[in-house]
Structure formats: structure tokens, C-alpha cells
């Protein structure tokens, strides 16, 4: 099929997507690189000039930097682990012969339709609040002290909230994949006397590998940039206990209004994200016959 004309057609059809995405990427990127070497504080326009690598040095030397990186990885890893493990379990459960599969699916995917700032606000105020939250009332009801989620377990709380938002996405993809698994295969294994666990281990899980890879890839890209939920719930605290790299950048750009430093942080984040993506593709690319 790879004739001359089809090669040309392929280039022509690809061109619009590639060109617009290239512009969309390169213009802000170029501006960001430029700003990252400038002294640019929004509120002090008279103080300008070249900063050399000072913005980068500040960012990397900032006491929060390494914590922010490990928190970012923790957030991505934690959410991935929770959504995939529970996604698989819930998909398996819904895929069983149960009454009301349609309504069930609707209930499970509904968190996906809630805007992230709303989701964070609901969890913070109506559930995790140490005096008025439902979880505090439950704890008091059984004679326990309420857990101070956002004060004592800030990172875990943020991971939990984000996981709730993304669980439907993972579940949906895994469920779709699961439904394509032929029942003959399972039945044959059952005939051979394979237990439920080994059926899962040797038939279901391999079948889901691709779907899991897709979930990891897409979610990672979205999760690497998360800061809104953190801003709503913990403000990166207490201290900097729940500060992630995107939140650090957000703070520089929006609160400190130091565009130079925020830009330097952005460039660092892009480099790190690409490193993560590279290793992701190295370790899992073969699962995607892309």
C-alpha cells in the first residue's frame, strides 16, 4: 500500500494535526524558555534584565524542590496504583452476571463528570473536615477521635481525592477490555480445573495488559500536571508536606508573581516529565503495538 501517492497523502493528512500542535507547543515553550532566563516579576516591571541561570538555580536549590519531586512521583504512583488495582477489581465485579449492570456502570463512572475543583471542595468540606465532615461524625459515632486528614495525612488525602476522580476512567477502560475476553477461554480453563485465582493470573490479567498500559500512559500525563486539587485542599501544606512540582510552579506564578522562576520551573518540569515518559515507554512500549 505504500505507494508514492499514498506516502504523499499520508503527509498531507498528517500535516494539519502536526502543524497546529507544533505551533501550540513551540510558541508558549519559546516564550517560557525566554522568560526563564529573564528577571520578570509581574509587580515590579521596572526591575528587568537577564537572570542567567539564576531562576533555575533558585528553583533547584529551593528547600522544597526534592520534596516536591518525590511528592509528584508519589501522587502519580499512588493514584495509578489505587485506580488500577481497584479499577480491575471493580471491573471484574461489574462484569459478573449481576442485576442492573447498566445503572451500576452509571454510578461507577459518575465521579468522572465532577469538575476537579468541585470534587476537591466536596471532599474537603463535606467529608474530611475534622469537625463538620461526615468521616469525623462516623469516627465519633463509633467512639474514635476524628482523623485530621489534611493536617496529618495531607499527601494521602490528596492522592485519595484524585484517585476518586480518576477511578471511573480506569474502570471504564478495563471493563471495556474485560468484556472482549471470550467466555470460551474462561470456561475451558474452568474445565481444566483452574481455580479463580489462577484463571485471573493466567488468562484475565494478560488480556488486560494493554488496557492497563493505556491507563498508565494517559493518567500519568494528566496527573503530572495536577495542582488545582492541592490548592483547594491543603495549599501544599502543612509546611510543604503536600507540595508537588506543578504546585510549586503555580505558587511562583500566581502568588509570588515571579514569572521568571515559574518559567524555569516549567522547563524543569517538562524535562522531568519527558524523562518519566521515556522510561514509561521503555518499560511498557512493547505492550502497545503502536
Amino acid at each position: 500500500m505504500a505507494t508514492q501517492s499514498s506516502r504523499l497523502a499520508a503527509r498531507l493528512t498528517l500535516a494539519p494535526s502536526v502543524i497546529v500542535l507544533f505551533i501550540w507547543m513551540i510558541v508558549p515553550l519559546a516564550l517560557t524558555i525566554w522568560f526563564s532566563f529573564r528577571i520578570y516579576r509581574l509587580l515590579s516591571p521596572d526591575r528587568t534584565g537577564w537572570a542567567g541561570f539564576r531562576n533555575y538555580v533558585w528553583f533547584v536549590n529551593s528547600p522544597d524542590f526534592w520534596l516536591a519531586i518525590s511528592n509528584t512521583l508519589l501522587l502519580v504512583g499512588g493514584v495509578l496504583a489505587i485506580t488500577i488495582v481497584f479499577g480491575v477489581l471493580i471491573a471484574l465485579l461489574i462484569d459478573q452476571p449481576v442485576w442492573g449492570q447498566g445503572p451500576l456502570r452509571i454510578l461507577v463512572i459518575s465521579p468522572f463528570f465532577v469538575m476537579p475543583p468541585v470534587a476537591a471542595s466536596i471532599w474537603e468540606n463535606l467529608f474530611m473536615h475534622p469537625q463538620n465532615g461526615m468521616l469525623a461524625s462516623l469516627a465519633l459515632g463509633v467512639g474514635l477521635q476524628p482523623i485530621l486528614f489534611l493536617e496529618n495525612y495531607p499527601m494521602s488525602s490528596v492522592i485519595f481525592i484524585v484517585s476518586w476522580e480518576w477511578l471511573p476512567f480506569a474502570t471504564l477502560i478495563l471493563l471495556t477490555a474485560l468484556q472482549s475476553l471470550s467466555s470460551e477461554q474462561i470456561e475451558a480453563a474452568e474445565m481444566d480445573g483452574a481455580g479463580a485465582l489462577s484463571r485471573f493470573r493466567y488468562i484475565v490479567l494478560p488480556h488486560l495488559t494493554r488496557a492497563i498500559t493505556v491507563v498508565i500512559l494517559i493518567q500519568t500525563i494528566f496527573l503530572l500536571g495536577i495542582f488545582g486539587e492541592i490548592f483547594t485542599t491543603t495549599q501544599g501544606g502543612p509546611g510543604s508536606a503536600s507540595t508537588t512540582l506543578p504546585y510549586m510552579i503555580y505558587k511562583q506564578a500566581v502568588i509570588a508573581k515571579d514569572i521568571g522562576r515559574a518559567a524555569a520551573g516549567g522547563i524543569i518540569a517538562v524535562i522531568l516529565a519527558n524523562i518519566v515518559a521515556f522510561f514509561l515507554m521503555r518499560s511498557m512500549g512493547k505492550n502497545l503495538d503502536v
Partner: protein, 276 residues
């Protein structure tokens, strides 16, 4: 996987599946319930369910306080517009990747996805400047473009994985019959990929609807969608949870209802090529 099971087992499975589903759904349900309580009742501890003061006042107030229909309409225009525009650009690209794969197809896809890796806050001022200088600030066109470009990588990828499942022979047969490239894509490929396209559309409408950083930052009055509507209801003085819940319910209800009606489509098409 529909196999015969004993009624008892089915009952047990149904019960556990429903408990899990209700647990996941509960926060959404609670938000809706809270939206019908008075502010005092909304923050009562222990939480009130049967003893709560029920009221419609929150909705009346939210409705009166802001121009909901305008925000709603903007949300519709932005999410649907960006998705359709994305399809127009992405279908040819996905065709090319699926049927004339080059050695660099995979790199290209990864590069497209990597355009989403810049943290939003880092490009806040660059984007602001670009939108200001091009006159796209607070215009629906500008936001449609921005949302389209944000989601384009996902659209291309999803479509590509569908198209790959369509046997190339069918397209070749069409070409033998004299179809040119455009009619091949438009009349042969697209109809065959309808389930995939449908779920691509749905997923992207949802992602665009829920986008709550750029849609707030790059708009003022003309193009502001429901995310901006929500941002006017959180954290004022005094009690606000019931009103916030009412506003949230109004913001998520349309997309929730759309999702509910189309969940079968969504599930059928969300394969990302994971189905063999």
C-alpha cells in the same frame, strides 16, 4: 462472560457490586442532597439526612445571582465545538497513521502526547500574552481552539487505535472502485468507525467540559463557561456549602445526564486499541 450461575451467587454478586458502586457514587449523591438543604442544615454535625431542613432556596438564589443559561451555553459551545473541530483535524491524521504507518508513527504519537506535559501555571503569562495579542481572549473561538489543541493528542490516539482494527482491504477495495482519498475517509472509513468516533466525542466533551483552569483564566464575560460559574460560588463569607452544592449540581448535571444516557457508547468505544 455471561455464564450460568446459581441465583444465590448472583444475588451475592449483585449485592456487593451495588455496595461498591454506591460507595463510589455517594459523594456525588451527597452533594446533590446538600444542595437541597438550608445552609445551617448543610454543615450540621452529625450530618442530617432525615432531620434536615429541605429547601429549594439555594437553586432560586443561584439562578437569580448569575446568568446560568449563558454559562451553560458557553460550556456546550466550547466542549462540542472543540471536539468537532478536533475530529476534523484528527480523522485524516489517524487515517494516515493507521493505514500508511511510517517508521516514526509511534514517536509521533508520543510527541503529540508530550505537548500536554507543560504545567499550566508555567505558561500562564505566555498564554495570556498570546491570547491578548491575537484578540482571542474571552472569545469562544479562542477557547474552542485552546481546548481542541489540549485534547487533540488524545483524539488522534483514540481514533488511530480504532482505525487500525479496520481491515485495510476494505479501504483498498473502495479505492479500486475509484474512490479518492477524501471519499475513502469520509464515506468508507468514518461510517465503519462510528462506535469509536462516538466514544472519542464523548470522552473529549467530558474533558473539555471539566477543564477549569484555562477556561477561567482566559475568559471574562463573553466566553466564560460553567467552570467560571462555579468559581463564583466557592468560599464567600458565611455559610456557603449548600449554595456551592447547588451550583455544582447545576454545573455537573448536564454532563452527568449526557454521560448516563451514553454510557453504553462510552464503554463500547473506550478501548484505546485494547481489544483484540
Amino acid at each position: 462472560m455471561a455464564r450460568a450461575v446459581t441465583p444465590r451467587r448472583k444475588l451475592l454478586l449483585t449485592a456487593s457490586a451495588w455496595s461498591v458502586a454506591l460507595l463510589i457514587f455517594f459523594p456525588v449523591l451527597w452533594t446533590v442532597l446538600t444542595s437541597f438543604k438550608t445552609e445551617v442544615s448543610a454543615v450540621a454535625s452529625p450530618p442530617q439526612l432525615f432531620s434536615a431542613d429541605w429547601t429549594l432556596e439555594n437553586y432560586a438564589e443561584v439562578w437569580q445571582r448569575s446568568d446560568y443559561p449563558r454559562f451553560f451555553w458557553n460550556s456546550v459551545v466550547l466542549s462540542v465545538g472543540s471536539t468537532l473541530l478536533g475530529l476534523v483535524i484528527a480523522i485524516p491524521a489517524a487515517w494516515s497513521m493507521a493505514f500508511v504507518p511510517g517508521t516514526r508513527t509511534r514517536d509521533l504519537l508520543m510527541w503529540m502526547l508530550s505537548t500536554k506535559m507543560m504545567p499550566a501555571a508555567a505558561v500562564l503569562i505566555p498564554m495570556y500574552l498570546i491570547f491578548q495579542r491575537t484578540g482571542l481572549f474571552d472569545s469562544r473561538l479562542g477557547l474552542v481552539l485552546a481546548l481542541m489543541l489540549m485534547n487533540l493528542p488524545v483524539i488522534v490516539w483514540m481514533l488511530y487505535t480504532y482505525f487500525k482494527e479496520i481491515p485495510a482491504e476494505i479501504l483498498e477495495a473502495a479505492r479500486m472502485d475509484g474512490a479518492n482519498l477524501w471519499s475513502e475517509i469520509l464515506y468508507v472509513l468514518t461510517p465503519m468507525a462510528v462506535p469509536g468516533i462516538a466514544s472519542t466525542v464523548l470522552l473529549n466533551v467530558i474533558l473539555a467540559w471539566n477543564e477549569a483552569f484555562w477556561t477561567i483564566t482566559l475568559t471574562t464575560t463573553k466566553a466564560a463557561p460553567l467552570s467560571a460559574f462555579i468559581a463564583s460560588f466557592s468560599a464567600p463569607q458565611g455559610l456557603f456549602y449548600a449554595k456551592l452544592s447547588a451550583a455544582s449540581t447545576m454545573a455537573i448535571a448536564p454532563i452527568l445526564i449526557l454521560g448516563w444516557f451514553s454510557q453504553k457508547q462510552l464503554v463500547r468505544g473506550l478501548t484505546f486499541g485494547a481489544v483484540k
